[in-house]
Symmetry: C2
């Protein structure tokens, strides 16, 4: 942020009075602009033994597979958003189940929230953001071609719970991979 969205004057990054973090502050109109992590909401759509994945038609991770998920919108609940994303990305009709995973991704300022879901039928069809929507048995999951670590973590937790015959609600954090080592000097 360089300009105040309220009055259009330049902002400065400083700690407002009574606060303990730097914020984008407008010295003209006095507005303080807070930024917070964003919720991403999605589902694990199940049909019998199979799980529905979408092949991404957009960046990031074009061509990789994901569970249907996306940014939660203003005015909706986490459940509303999860159902909406499943319709938008997979054209899939679902019956939403319980919360399954909540995974923090602090280095990208997101919290990923997945619900279990039952497909109502198999008349799904990829939306504009997907190249393909397809059901996978556990042994067919393209683990090396999964778009996001929250998705592979959620799928592993899901198949683990399914094998145990009992589903839980799981929380974890995914931290950034270590920065690549600098090149050695010649």
């Amino acid at each position: 942020m360089r300009f105040c969205p309220v009055c259009g004057h330049a902002t400065s990054l400083r700690v407002p009075s009574g606060d303990n973090r730097t914020r984008d502050c407008c010295d003209h109109c006095g507005a303080v602009h807070y930024v917070n992590p964003r919720p991403v909401v999605g589902t694990i759509p199940v049909w019998g033994e199979q799980v529905l994945l979408c092949k991404r038609a957009i960046e990031p991770r074009y061509g990789k597979w994901t569970l249907p998920a996306g940014f939660m919108e203003i005015g909706e609940t986490t459940a509303d958003g999860a159902i909406r994303e499943t319709i938008e990305e997979a054209g899939a009709r679902i019956e939403l189940g319980p919360l399954f995973s909540m995974i923090d991704v602090p280095h990208v300022q997101q919290v990923h929230i997945f619900f279990r879901a039952d497909l109502v039928d198999t008349a799904f069809t990829p939306g504009a953001e997907s190249l393909e929507a397809r059901l996978f048995h556990e042994n067919e999951i393209p683990w090396d071609e999964i778009a996001f670590r929250t998705v592979s973590a959620t799928l592993r937790l899901f198949f683990g719970d399914r094998a145990r015959g009992e589903y839980g609600t799981h929380t974890q954090a995914i931290v950034a991979p270590p920065a690549p080592a600098p090149l050695a000097r010649a």
Copy 2:
């Protein structure tokens, strides 16, 4: 939003190409400014049979009682934020437990997330945003003086689970109260 935080020119509210919702768009630099619901994170700090509540020293709900909670900050996890808020508002040292409730509040564009927690000791002390921090037995909870509906819902769920001897993870949505009826014509 009236001005683009990137370039300072006026924004307009319209549906960007390829989208299906109105966004704040800058016709000068092309930026699209998305807004998403914000996570609020907190804890249910327990000491034996008692739960720790804070009396708010700030608006909204000055003088009302709440569980320690606040907006999740950039760079932290939900668990980090819940621990931080418990320190800031109640000066309380805790051992964080599992996720307990995730409550959508779509009319204020928030998701409230509470974790169970055990107090490490009773050397808590109200922070700058609290008038008082105090332990309550279930029969002492000031139900009519609770600051937020997500807090009273979480407390009711907590005492219900405790009575049953089994704690779950709970999701629900709190919708806006119905608008007051218009005055009858004379």
